[in-house]
């Protein structure tokens, strides 16, 4: 994260210096596959372009097997003695437990519709990043050990031996997939690469192999409640600081309820909202917003993380980390849970939480305390997305909004992978944006909504350890942003995901530095007309406004 902040003050894009390649050069992609058949091309680990293995310390915290020191470029990965048996047994077990896995191993026809849909293939050209071939890496093993034809015919049946090189290859490409599910939108059988990557990672984990960028957050989240390992008092200090900053900008002195029992609503956000610069602004915005509507709510240090890197680790780990949400809601005796702007957090809440840790029968069916709207779509899981909550308030005219207070912003909106393709949250954020901002332009239809591109850093890939891959994976999203920047003068890429806020900022600083990144509720809070407000000339990120705010006036006219 320190890296992100450093580069933003530089004239020459920081990553260009690090990489030694201009955007024009990096975007010259050779899509021609190698002459050698793919089974004969061993994986290579380029210097400074792989993710570092999970550290022993964090592996131990969460009881993972075979913790050890190793590095991808090493010849010897120090695999456990019976690695092959462990791997194949693990595969057999999962074929019996996941219909998705068995089916996705069986029914692919290799039509290739998914091939040019993956941002890592588009930006990098490595054929093993075509989802079809990335899946074949594991499918070829499945055929060799679990199908009769593969056992007898071998290569002719598309089967191959499980070797150390295959393990290395699986490691490499399982961490060049962000589990974004874009390919599954185009697959005629709905084969979901995310599902295959998740299983492949579980299998690697059985051999004690994963990346530190995922395992350290998992370990920290397990112990401290958040990926960054922020301790309770640190969060409290940070929140006090943000409260003071809000007061300095707006003059409003607000309460910051922390771990408060008996509140109506428990509010859970990705921990990026406590430290990442764009996330922090979102927190400041939220403090103002909840103060304004008089919400009876609380933050929690024990669930100071909405995100769940367990999703990128194993199905078991999803449950282990997610368990805190209901446990804390029960302890604090809240009625229901509200969730902030986060991406994969919502995949977990929408597709896993009720199943793994429900039923949440100690909570009440969510009802907006301001409008009385029942959130029927969340009546079992009892967790509402803040965009749903806010859209309802705006619809009922409960917020006085002056969109001209965002006239210095020309916005576009990036649909985050998980809320898009694992939930379908498309209209709620757009409704909010259109009500709080006068200048909103969509990116081309082929790369928004269900067809949205990944930022390139989901699923534990959001680090510059693997800088080249990250920037290549980020290219399609940044390129579409650049398109609307050039066409409409867009200067703000809105999104509802903490990883997006960090990774899109990294990517744009390289591909299109004129555009900044921010959350949707930041613009909402900017546009709020609040009784008793003071005059001001800056927005919540202290950027100068087009027209200074005069209390009681909307768009310069009497309210």
């Amino acid at each position: 994260m320190a890296e992100v902040e450093k580069k933003e003050e530089r004239e020459v894009p920081y990553y260009e210096t690090v990489l030694g390649a201009s955007p024009e050069k990096l975007a010259t992609v050779d899509y021609k596959p190698p002459a050698k058949p793919w089974m004969d091309v061993p994986p290579k680990f380029k210097k400074l372009d792989y993710l570092n293995p999970a550290k022993v310390k964090w592996m131990k915290v969460i009881d993972l097997p075979f913790p050890r020191e190793w590095s991808p470029p090493d010849e010897d990965w120090k695999l456990p003695e019976n690695w092959k048996e462990i791997f194949l047994n693990g595969m057999e077990d999962r074929l019996k437990r996941f219909r998705s896995f068995q089916l996705f191993m069986d029914i692919c026809v290799r039509c290739g519709a998914c091939a040019d849909k993956c941002q890592f293939f588009i930006g990098g050209g490595d054929p093993k990043n075509m989802p079809v071939l990335r899946a074949e890496l594991l499918r070829s093993i499945y055929r060799r050990y679990f199908t009769t034809s593969g056992k007898i015919l071998g290569k002719i049946a598309g089967a191959r031996e499980l070797t150390v090189d295959v393990i290395k290859e699986l490691f490499k490409y399982s961490f060049q997939c962000t589990e974004c599910r874009r390919c599954s939108v185009f697959c005629p059988y709905g084969i979901d690469m995310a599902e295959i990557t998740m299983i492949a990672r579980e299998l690697l984990l059985l051999l004690g192999m994963h990346v530190n960028w995922a395992i350290e957050p998992v370990g920290k989240s397990f112990l401290t409640g958040n990926h960054m390992g922020l301790l309770p008092h640190t969060i409290k200090d940070f929140m006090d600081e943000y409260r003071d900053e809000l007061e300095k900008i707006t003059g409003f002195k607000v309460d910051v309820p922390m771990n408060r029992k008996g509140a109506e609503i428990l509010y859970i956000v990705p921990s990026g909202d406590f430290f990442d610069e764009r996330g922090v602004i979102l927190t400041i915005a939220t403090l103002l917003y909840f103060y304004h509507i008089g919400l009876d709510y609380t933050w929690s240090t024990y669930t100071s993380e909405g995100g769940n890197f367990g999703l990128f680790t194993s199905h078991e780990m999803i449950k282990r980390l997610n368990a805190k949400m209901y446990a804390e809601a029960k302890r604090l005796k809240v009625k229901w849970i509200l969730g902030g702007e986060c991406g994969h957090m919502w995949r977990v809440i929408n597709q896993y939480m009720g199943t793994v840790n429900g039923p949440a029968d100690f909570l009440e069916e969510p009802v907006s305390p301001i409008t009385g709207t029942k959130f029927e779509n969340a009546k079992d899981t009892k967790m509402v997305h803040i965009a749903e909550f806010t859209a309802d308030l705006i619809r009922h005219g409960k917020l006085k909004l002056d969109p001209s207070r965002n006239d210095h912003v020309i916005a576009t909106y990036h649909d985050s992978c998980n809320p898009s393709r694992a939930m379908g949250l498309f209209e709620e954020p757009r409704y909010i944006i259109k009500n709080v901002c006068n200048n909103f332009y969509e990116m081309p239809e082929s790369c928004i909504r269900e067809k949205t591109f990944c930022c390139g850093g989901g699923a534990g890939l959001g680090t510059d350890e693997q800088l080249e891959t990250l920037l290549r994976g980020n290219f399609p999203r940044s390129n579409a942003t650049k398109h609307v920047h050039e066409k409409f003068g867009v200067n703000r890429l809105l999104c509802m995901c903490a990883i997006d806020r960090a990774v899109l900022s990294m990517g744009l600083s390289y591909w299109c530095p004129q555009v900044t990144v921010g959350g949707v509720h930041e613009l909402l809070a900017n546009a709020l007309v609040i009784p008793g407000e003071s005059p001001r000339t800056v927005d919540l990120r202290r950027q100068p406004l087009k027209r200074p705010i005069t209390p009681g006036k909307i768009a310069g006219k009497e309210a």
Partner: protein, 335 residues
């Protein structure tokens, strides 16, 4: 597996099948084997294999509800839900499946992503694959239905009607069936794109080429029989009626071409349950398409959900009590 090997192995395999049938019938006079035993065995393998595979899939639990949502979710009443692309009910999911199975909805989304100088990504419409796939599957289906005339006496009127529509253009004698041309054309397209698109060539396996060659072989032998080398249709019907009535008869003078055709068809049936062709049944079970996205409203049960080790709030407070106390955060236990 290199391209050359994949391609030639598959082609040679199909040619070998043709040769086997030819030698078997012309040389060894094994007409009963090729005309009755093999078709019976093939159908048996097909039926048993299909049922086995489907039951096996269906017996595996569906631990999580993981639909890929391709439209607006059901949330607030005034936001228009896309009930098909993001169904919240079983009915919606069923309609989604109808679109998927009958119209290849997802493949219809296909587009070509191109990187142009600038750098600039562009997205172009690419519906050819969808069109060819649709043409291929539907012509295959219609041809199969047309073949019912060989198994039912008298020929049912819907089959006759279909034949009439299918020969709408009224060219050639006997009349050319549009679906025959479509099948050959579509299979050829599907084959050529595997050969000429570098990425397709790179990912294609013998199990991709083999069914294409096999179906091409079936189409060509069928076409030859109908349009060029007239075979003994009366004799063939006698044979097929015998098969369907479980009293196989092998009339004389049917012609080897028929036996080759029948052998290739038998191979296709027998090969089916062991191959990627099982996508025909598998698509119905695809968990990203066939279930509703209603997890937050209705709890999905995972039969193997098991308890896991968690870090409880009590442990957390024990770990950080002093810090929390100093920061003025509320505590469960004061010391």
């Amino acid at each position: 597996m290199s391209f050359g090997l994949s391609f030639w192995v598959s082609l040679i395999a199909v040619l070998a099948l043709i040769l086997v049938a030819w030698v078997g019938v012309e040389g060894a006079k094994l007409n009963f084997l090729f005309g009755a035993i093999i078709p019976y065995v093939a159908i048996a393998i097909f039926v048993v294999g299909m049922i086995y595979r489907i039951l096996k899939w269906a017996s595996i639990p569906l631990p999580f509800r993981i639909p890929t949502t391709t439209g607006q979710q059901k949330s607030l009443p005034w936001i228009k839900q896309n009930k098909i692309e993001n169904p919240s009910t079983a009915l919606g999911a069923a309609i989604r499946m109808v679109f998927e199975v009958l119209l290849f909805r997802s493949l219809f989304r296909n587009m070509r992503t191109e990187l142009r100088p600038g750098p600039r990504l562009s997205f172009a419409s690419a519906k050819w694959l969808w069109l060819a796939a649709l043409a291929f599957h539907y012509s295959f289906l219609i041809i199969l239905i047309r073949h019912l005339r060989l198994f039912i006496e008298p020929v049912p009127s819907p089959v006759k009607f279909l034949e009439m529509i299918d020969s709408f253009f009224q060219v050639w004698v006997p009349l050319v069936y549009i679906t025959d041309l479509m099948l050959i054309g579509a299979v050829t397209y599907l084959l050529l794109r595997r050969v000429f698109i570098p990425q397709m060539r790179y990912i294609s396996l013998p199990s991709d080429y083999f069914p294409l060659f096999l179906i091409l072989g079936i189409g060509i032998t069928g076409g030859l029989m109908r349009y060029f080398y007239k075979v003994n249709v009366v004799g063939i019907k006698e044979l097929t009626m015998g098969l369907i009535n479980f009293s196989p008869k092998i009339p004389e003078g049917i012609g080897v071409l028929f036996y080759i055709h029948l052998f290739l068809v038998s191979t296709l049936f027998a090969y089916f349950p062991f191959s990627k062709l099982m996508h025909m049944a598998g698509v119905f079970l695809s968990p990203t398409r066939n279930i509703a996205n209603n997890n937050r409203a209705k709890r999905h049960i995972n039969p193997w959900n098991y308890p896991v080790k968690v870090h409880t709030y009590e442990e957390y407070e024990d770990d950080y009590r002093e810090f929390m106390k100093d920061a003025g955060l509320p505590l469960e236990k004061e010391d």
